[in-house]
């Protein structure tokens, strides 16, 4: 078993490139190393892939509470009288529907409907917004938003902002204990400002796990203080630090798309099942015409959930077949610890996308049976 082969099929999981000094580090890097995390390159960052073990960490989030360092993600602010118009022309969702204190899942698209990135949009004030984007896309997105909607005042605050996700059924109790304000009043996809463990925090009731929880935005210099306060105070809750490995299995069980795996410049939001964040009635935006054309004819392929009939791990890039003919491709796949099944997401040609359809996944030259199933694979327990 060569150590050279100890790498994942997804880009950026290699354990070999640790000498690469160009990798960026979050303010919590030292805390991760001290906690015994295995650090791997991910999207240009050196990030913890696991601490105690992926399955154990996954279960901790489903049963108690986990802490994720997601400071590698990017944050842009858009401000001024042109900010809303900028967002309306850049993003697929309707930013004008946002109240102050509300968050919206959205996407940036190319004119051909391909996805530049998926993101969340925060309305911070009357004409002030924050966009949270994927770590590996920060430079590309910054170039995109400033060159296509330059009339707004843009500020890239990624470097000065740290982000800690607190996720799981005990998240509300843990954050509530340390927060100066009542966090139970913050609704799903809403946020509020307030001190947590004495640290100025934007407390957002969002996440990427399917569990209730928060994402805490703080100044980079305060991240280590907040991280250790959460670990300390969460001890009776069974709090655990969670790496990117479990973040991936948790989001997979919810069928949440991961940019670079399930969605990218070659996929449009409709085939990815993201039609609900495309609000073409709001007026013109980049990609609208192309997406509307797809809506007219219906997507030729769809991102669906697969459950393997036997033990077999379907991974990114594996072909999906039906009666010996290729009909699609796996975009994400793993063992799902909470569903105790081998599950995957895949694009398949629309005629084969119905729940219950039997298909095959080609794994190392052998076809393994799989079935199209309803998603999410695991029931969502986010706050409603």
């Amino acid at each position: 078993m060569p150590v050279g082969a100890l790498t994942g099929p997804e880009r950026g999981w290699s354990t070999e490139a640790l000498v690469d000094t160009s990798l960026k580090r979050t303010p919590l890097f030292d805390a991760h190393v001290k906690a015994g995390a295995r650090m791997v390159p991910f999207g240009g960052w050196e990030m913890p892939v696991q601490y105690a073990g992926i399955i154990e960490e996954h279960r901790a989030v489903r049963t108690s509470v986990g802490l994720f360092d997601v400071s590698h993600m990017g944050e842009f602010e858009a401000e001024g009288p042109q900010a809303l118009a900028a967002l309306q022309s850049l993003t697929t969702n309707d930013a004008s529907a946002l109240d102050i204190g509300q968050v919206q899942y959205s996407a940036l698209c190319y004119p051909d409907g391909g996805i530049v990135d998926d993101l969340t949009v925060y309305r911070l004030g009357g004409d002030r917004y924050m966009l949270t984007v994927n770590a590996g896309n920060i430079d590309k997105d910054w170039e995109w938003v400033t060159s296509h909607a330059g009339a707004a005042r843009w500020r890239n605050v990624s470097g000065e902002t740290a982000l800690i996700a607190v996720q799981g059924p005990r998240a509300e109790a843990l954050v509530g204990r340390l927060a100066e304000r009542d966090v139970t009043a913050i609704g799903y996809y809403r946020f509020a400002h307030g001190a947590v463990a004495g640290v100025r925090t934007l407390i957002s009731r969002t996440g990427y796990t399917g569990e209730d929880g928060f994402e805490l935005y703080v100044a980079a210099g305060d991240a280590a203080r907040l991280w250790s306060a959460l670990l300390e105070s969460g001890r009776p809750d069974g709090v655990a630090p969670i790496g990117l490995g479990a973040r991936d299995t948790l989001r997979l069980e919810m069928r949440y798309a991961l940019y670079g795996n399930d969605i990218d410049a070659t996929t449009n939001p409709l085939e990815a099942g993201l039609g609900w964040i495309v609000k073409s009635g709001k007026g013109s935006f980049i990609g609208r015409d192309a997406i509307e054309k797809v809506r007219g004819t219906g997507p030729t392929r769809r991102l669906i959930g697969l459950e393997m009939a036997e033990r077999a791990v379907a991974r990114h890039g594996y072909p999906v077949v039906k009666d010996g003919t290729p009909i699609g491709i796996v975009t994400s796949g793993s063992y799902g610890p909470s569903v105790d099944r081998y599950i995957a997401m895949a694009y398949v040609a629309t005629p084969h996308a119905a729940v219950g359809t039997e298909v095959g996944v080609e794994i190392r030259g052998q076809v393994k049976t799989a079935r199209v199933v309803k998603t999410p694979f695991h029931p969502s327990r986010t706050k409603k």
């Binding site: 078993m1 060569p2 082969a5 997804e10 073990g53 992926i54 399955i55 791990v313 081998y342």
Partner: protein
């Protein structure tokens, strides 16, 4: 440093080999399972099949990684751990015991002599970590 039993031989691909009379039992090392993380899938050859030294005889997958298993010696498979495909996590829990993979009847005695001793493997792993 991971556990490296003194009575076993090793490969640079992180398999262990244990002589049991005229047979050789094969598995992956504690270091290997640690590097892999949670094992969720194991595929082994059938009894009666042939394995060839330094060539892949099976596959082990963790949540994040796929790895080939390489044969330390050539020979005929006389036993395969039937429990492993059902309980892949055994590889993590007991890599040198219940997590064994196959037993081989070797066809070339000289290959055994070429395997690493425990101190040699330990040194190899220590160097690989830097």
């Amino acid at each position: 440093m991971a556990n490296v039993p003194a009575d076993l031989k090793y490969t640079k691909e992180h398999e262990w080999a244990k002589r049991e009379g005229d047979r050789i039992r094969i598995g992956i090392t504690a270091y290997a399972q640690e590097q892999l993380g949670d094992v969720v899938f194991v595929e082994l050859p059938k009894v009666g099949g042939k394995v060839i030294a330094h060539q892949a005889f099976g596959v082990v997958e963790s949540v994040k990684a796929v790895s080939d298993l390489f044969a330390p010696v050539s020979g005929e498979v006389v036993e395969a751990n039937a429990e492993l495909p059902q309980k892949p996590e055994t590889v993590n829990k007991d890599p040198y015991g219940k997590g064994w993979m196959i037993v081989v009847k070797p066809s070339n005695a000289a290959e055994w002599e070429q395997l690493l001793s425990a101190p040699q493997y330990e040194k190899f792993v220590a160097e690989a970590a830097h």
